[in-house]
Structure formats: structure tokens, C-alpha cells
Subunit: 316 residues, 3 copies
């Protein structure tokens, strides 16, 4: 898409040499044929080094645009980013892509659907009612149970088990809002990647990333009815018990264990090798390892047990 067209769509002034923009990305990850944006002035520090061809900015942030990038100045950069995200969204299915390739020994049930451009490995089973989207890749020796939906562009590794009704790659819950209370959808043009040896429970949902990938790392174990937000990274061998939830962009180190109905806020970093009791509410990043936490707000598990006792005695 031409940069001049982009400027026109969002009502920004544009002069100078036109160029082709291939996609949108974050300030940090954008390459020189990508468009970026800055919605919150606290990220101005990321602007100087951005390789983006153009950056959507507002009056507060426009002065930080590096010489290498075109500034597209608008009133509400986040809203305009949302508006543009739709233009970069892929079609629901790639009708013109070649028919899906299915590896040796794999079985696709006649009532399953594998969209054009998908790739199925060897000795993999796709059961009835499952849907594999365009350009999705499923590895070897993997089982996709009935009525699973894997959205386009998503990746599932080798030796995985995806239980019935699970959804991998649905859009993250992201939108810009204006003062009239209207919402402008942010199309999530990233994907979701499930690495090797992962088991995902029935009716669990794993959202795709807005840019880049939501990643479930090797050997993770995710139970039923778990929500994994867009752009999360769920660490190697980590465990999420049923009905736990992970808000967007939280990065979880290896071998963490989250009890049932536990939940994290978004944009946290959680160090490896911790255990969070059932219903833990994790609102801050965790820098320690080897600990057990509980409660909401979250505290050390032993202290939580003590507090429960003390409150009981206080009240009697």
C-alpha cells in the first residue's frame, strides 16, 4: 500500500517521496518498508532507533520522529493505527493459494476442513469438524481433536495434542476507543505459535498477536477453558490449570505453574520456576524464582496462609 494512500485514509499531511508499505509493526520491530505508530508518549524512547518507514504520531510526539522516517501527524494515533490495521489484514482464506499439502501417514477426516495454503506434517490426525486455516502449519505426530479451530497463519508443532473445541489464533481483544464511546477494532495481523510437545485443553482459547506471535513454548501444558491473551509468551514446560487467564503481552518464564482460575494482568514478566496457587491474581512482574505465591493481591503463599488465620482470629 502506498504511503500516500495511507496518509489520505487517516487524514495526515504527506509530502515528499512516496513508497510502498508492506505491513505495520511496533517501533522496535518495524523494518524500513513498514509503518509504525506511537500511542503513548512513554514510548518516545523507542523512536530514535526505529527503522520504520513512517510513524503515526500526534502533536506531542511528532518532534521525536527520526530523520529516517516520515511523520504522519494525526489527532489520535492509536485510533488511526486501528483504522489502518484493517487494510493490512489478510483475507479470511486464500482462495487462490495451492491446495493444502498433507504429509505421509496423516489422516484428515472428510468432515474436517483444511484451507488452501495450509501444511500438515506426517502422521498427524485432523479429526471431524476441525478447521485449519490458510497458511497454517501443523507438525508431525500431532492430534487435532474434533471441532478445534486453528486460524490462518498459525503454527502447531510436532507431537502436540489439541483437545476438542480449542481455538488457536482468534483475534486479540484490542481496539481504540474515542470520547463518544465508540471502538475501532485493531486487526490482529500476527499469529499464534504452539511449539513442539504441547498439550492444549478442551475449549481453551489462544489469541493471535497484533504484530509478531503469541507463543506457547515447547512442552507447555494448558488445561481446559484457559484464556491466553494476544502476544503472550508461555514458557517452556509451564503449566496452566483450568480456567486460568493470561492478559495480553505477558511473558512467562519456563516451568511456572498456575493453579485453576489464576490470572495475570497484561504486560508482565514472570521469572521461571514459580508456582501460583489456584485463583492467584498476579498484577505485578515477578523477578524471583522458586517461590510459591497465592492471593489477590498476590503475596507469598506461606504469608497468605498466616493472614487468613489472623483475620479469622481478629474477627471472632
Amino acid at each position: 500500500m502506498k504511503l500516500s494512500e495511507i496518509a489520505k485514509i487517516i487524514g495526515a499531511d504527506f509530502r515528499g517521496e512516496d513508497c510502498e508499505i508492506l505491513s505495520m509493526n511496533t517501533l522496535k520491530d518495524a523494518s524500513n518498508n513498514e509503518l509504525s505508530f506511537i500511542a503513548n508518549p512513554k514510548y518516545v524512547k523507542d523512536m530514535a532507533d526505529s527503522k520504520a518507514a513512517a510513524i503515526i504520531v500526534d502533536e506531542r510526539t511528532k518532534e521525536y520522529v527520526p530523520a529516517s522516517a516520515v511523520a504522519l501527524v494525526v489527532d489520535d494515533a492509536y485510533w488511526q493505527m486501528a483504522t489502518l490495521s484493517k487494510y493490512f489484514a489478510a483475507p479470511l482464506e486464500d482462495k487462490d493459494a495451492p491446495e493444502a499439502v498433507v504429509g505421509e501417514g496423516s489422516v484428515v477426516h472428510p468432515k474436517a476442513t483444511v484451507a488452501n495454503g495450509a501444511l500438515i506434517g506426517k502422521n498427524t490426525t485432523i479429526m471431524a469438524g476441525a478447521y485449519i486455516g490458510s497458511q497454517a502449519k501443523i507438525g508431525d505426530n500431532t492430534i487435532i481433536y474434533p471441532n478445534v479451530t486453528i486460524y490462518r497463519d498459525c503454527v502447531v508443532g510436532n507431537n502436540c495434542i489439541i483437545h476438542a473445541g480449542a481455538v488457536i489464533g482468534s483475534d486479540g481483544f484490542g481496539f481504540a476507543s474515542n470520547k463518544l464511546g465508540e471502538h475501532n477494532k485493531i486487526y490482529h495481523n500476527g499469529n499464534a505459535v504452539v511449539e513442539d510437545d504441547v498439550e492444549i485443553g478442551a475449549n481453551t482459547t489462544i489469541d493471535r498477536a497484533v504484530f509478531g506471535s503469541t507463543i506457547i513454548k515447547k512442552g507447555a501444558r494448558i488445561d481446559n477453558l484457559v484464556q491466553m491473551g494476544h502476544n503472550c509468551v508461555f514458557g517452556e514446560g509451564s503449566v496452566a490449570v483450568a480456567q486460568s487467564g493470561f492478559a495480553g503481552s505477558t511473558v512467562i518464564g519456563r516451568n511456572n505453574v498456575f493453579g485453576g482460575q489464576a490470572a495475570t494482568a497484561g504486560h508482565l514478566e514472570i521469572a521461571p520456576f514459580n508456582t501460583f496457587a489456584a485463583r492467584s491474581g498476579i498484577t505485578k512482574s515477578i523477578k524471583e524464582s522458586g517461590k510459591t505465591f497465592a492471593g489477590f493481591p498476590l503475596i507469598d503463599h506461606k504469608r497468605w496462609l498466616k493472614i487468613q488465620g489472623k483475620i479469622a482470629r481478629l474477627i471472632k
Copy 2:
């Protein structure tokens, strides 16, 4: 169904002129060819003005039946209402209805199912494995992702996105119970209506109304794994983050925001423009607007933060 037959089914005395009853409804909304009931004496105030042709009552409430209505006196009015609800339930599919009408530019995947009597608008996509029930109406420019189920009679507006595995119009969780611990299902003969510009997340469930409609209003945003109870109204532009839950008959004003795993009790009214932090437990109606709440029981968010701090210091 003849009123005399109805009386017979529930073992009520019936004399006088017979008439045809078309459906059941609440005291307030019943018209003069409908049957109503009163299960809880606190609603006797609604009886005087009811236009119902007949009302199922018990010994405590029979004297309040207006002259325009026939009184059907039984021991347990709620149980008998449940018994009768089955007789007014529509068939699972209308085999004899005309084939579904699909508007110009719309695509129904060959592995999707659109039942007889359904109506699909223009430029809408129904992906593989989705199910659209009889008499359901889907608007224009709407996307129904794979393995979505939309029950019969439900309505989805224009420009909506319904993510994979979502269920719209399943029966509400209602039944009468007796002293033996048996339950008598209340068939939910209302529907669910999703207005225009709504996005609904993966594996979210929206129950149909017992009478009338569960309504998701224009521009609402509902994340994954959310439960919306029967007869709820979810306000224009309101937002429900993943794993939140709304018990039956709660009416939520516009532009409320509910954090992840937040929940409301049933039969509440929530004024517009409030924010409820993640895991809020809302057990009373909210009359104020523009506030932020948290906790369970629910309190002002700032006060909640203070209390957490004080408890921590008390305990140390």
C-alpha cells in the same frame, strides 16, 4: 393450545369459556392470548395491570388475579410454568420452512450448516463448521468464524464478528426445583439478539431469554470465554474482558467496562460509564456513573487499594 388443555396438564380447575393460548410471557408483557404466572408473591403488584388471558397462581396469590384473566390455581406455580414451557418450545429445526435465503455477495462454506428458514444478509461470510439455526437472521458484512453455533430464532446484526466456537442462543440456566431435589427445565422460548458492530470472542456463550430477548447492544465488545446469562442487556459500547460472567436478567448501561473474570449477580441494573476492575464481584445495582470499582464485595477502586495496604500493615 387450548386453555382447557393447559389446565388439564397442570391439574388446575378450569371452568368458563375456552380460548387459544399462543405463548407464555411475564405478567407485564403478556398480551390477551398469552398465559402468565406468578411464582413469587412480591410480584402481585404486577397482576392488576396484566393483560394475560390466564395466570398460573397458588393459594397465596389467587385473589389478585384481575377480572380479565382466568386463574389457574396450582400448588407450585413455578414448577407448573416450567412444565408448560416445554409445550410452547419450537422444534429444534423447522424442517418445513423454506430453504435459507443468502444475500448477494455472501459466502456460506459447504461445511457450514444454515437451517431452513434462516436469513443471511449481504457480503457476509459463514465459515466451515458454523451452524445457523432456523429463523435466525444474520446481517450484512458479518463474519461467522468456524464452529460457531447460533441457535434458532437468534439475530446477529451488520458488521459483526463472531469468533470461533462462540455459542449464541443456548438455553438459559433455569429450572424449577421441588422438595425431592428434582429439577423441571424451563424451556427458553425467547431469543438472543446481537446488534450491529459487535465483536464476540472465541468460545463465549450468550444464552437466549426465557421470554423476550437477551440483547448485546450496538458496538459492544465481548472477549473470549465470557458467559452472558439469559435476559441480560449488555449496553451500547460496553466491554467485557475474558472470562467475565453476567448472571441472568442484569441490565448493563452503555460504555461500562468489566475486567477479566469480573462477574455480576442476576437482576441488577448498572448505570452507564463505569469501570469494574478485573475480578470485581458485583452483587448490587450501581446507580452512579463515571466511577471505578474493584473487589468482592465491590467497593470504590481507590478505597479497595487503601484497604489492601492497611490489611497488609495490620498483619505484619
Copy 3:
């Protein structure tokens, strides 16, 4: 499978007469052609009376193996049990079983799938996109809504209603873990049984048992998005409101009521006729009946209400 082969797979010494092992089971339930194991020394008391043909043990437990059983001594009995569970897992579908039998008056939608060896009763409806696995049995007068998945070997009784997207019989969340943080899946070779007159909500998940059955007893009512763990028994007429969760092996007596988002820990016993308020967190067995509980940790509901008031006053 020959016992000598089993010993070889898990690296245990084996001498003496070989025999055919048909399946794995608990110490208590194993018969004399089954293999058992002991992972936790606190269960040594169950060893003396076990009829198992062989028991996987470690150095701490090997001396308790009764004379009737062969001891297979390994470093990590739980890990090796997991390893072996895969060998006893049935295939995903029984290709060679006879075609499914469908009773008189039943309707299977052409877009539903009923695997070989399944048995459908009379006057039952299997709607589009539903999946019924091999050897599964569905009773009479039952409704299976669209996109439901019933795994192989599971049983659904008469007069049941299974709402859209529900999953019955997915694998329980069980695995052995080693010191490297790797997990070894325990294949769940039991099943899930839903007795007569049960209604199960949309997108609810009911896991199959590791051995034996997860059981939803007669007349139970389970709402949407509920998680029922492997080997749970959910009592006759008991009620689980939306988003509640039940961890593995908990046995719930008749006519209990669990409010929305309530949850239990695993391996509990809950006496009949109790009520648990919304979001109750039940971590200990309940021996009383006829009570109402609330909170997390769980206390008497009236006391919980008092404590909430006192905390509020303390803080002011």
C-alpha cells in the same frame, strides 16, 4: 501386553513367569490381569489387599508388594506409569468396528459424525457438527446440539440435553514431571458417564477419568463454561452455575448447589444438600449437610457476611 515387555519399557528387572496384562488400574480396583503402581508412599496401606498382577514401585515401597503381585522396581513410579499409559490407550477411532447403530426415530444430521462402534438410542437428535466417538453410547430422547464433541467410550443417558460446543470425555489434566521440568502425559483410559435427565451447558468441558469414570449423576444441572475434572463424581440433582470448576477426583454428594465461578480443589468429598455462594473456594472436604458457605477460604455464609462488614468498619 506381556508383563516382560512392560518391564523392558520402564527398565525394571523382571524374572519369573510371564503373563498378559490387559490394562492399568489403581491398587484398589486392579484385577489379576491388570498392572498397578504406587507413586506416593502414603498409599502403601492399599498394597496388601491389591489384586494387581504387578505393581510399579520404587525403593521405598517395594517391600510392601504382596506375594500375589510382581514388583517392578523403578526410580520414579509415577513417571513410568505415565510412560506405560500410552501403550494402553485405545486408538482415536476404531476403524474396524461395525458402523454405528442408530435407534428408531433418531436423527443424525448429515454434517454430524458418529464414529464406528457408537450406539445411538431412540428418538435422539444429533445436530450438525456434533461428533460422537467410537464405542460411545447415547441414550433415548437426548439432544446433542451442534458442535458438541463426545470422545470415544463415553456415555450419555436418556433425556439429556447437551448444549453446543460442550466437550465430554477430553483427557484429564494429568502428567508426571521430572527434575528437568519435562512432563510425561498420563493417557486417560477411563471415560466420562453422564446419567439420565442431565442438562449440560454450552462450551462446558467434562474430562474423562484416568481409570474408571468421571460421573455426572442423574438429574444434575451444569451451566455454561464449567470445568469438571477427571474422576469427579457430581451428585444426583446437583447444580453448577456458569464458570464454576471442579478439580480432579472430587466427589460431590446429591443436591449441592455451586454458584458462578465457585471452585473446588481436587480429591475432596462434599456431603449432600449444601449451597456454595458464587466464587466460593472450597479447599477442604465438607462433612456437614444443609449449610450455606461462601468465601475463599470457605466459611459459613452468615459469618462471611459479618466478616465483610467488620473489615469495612475496621478500615474506615
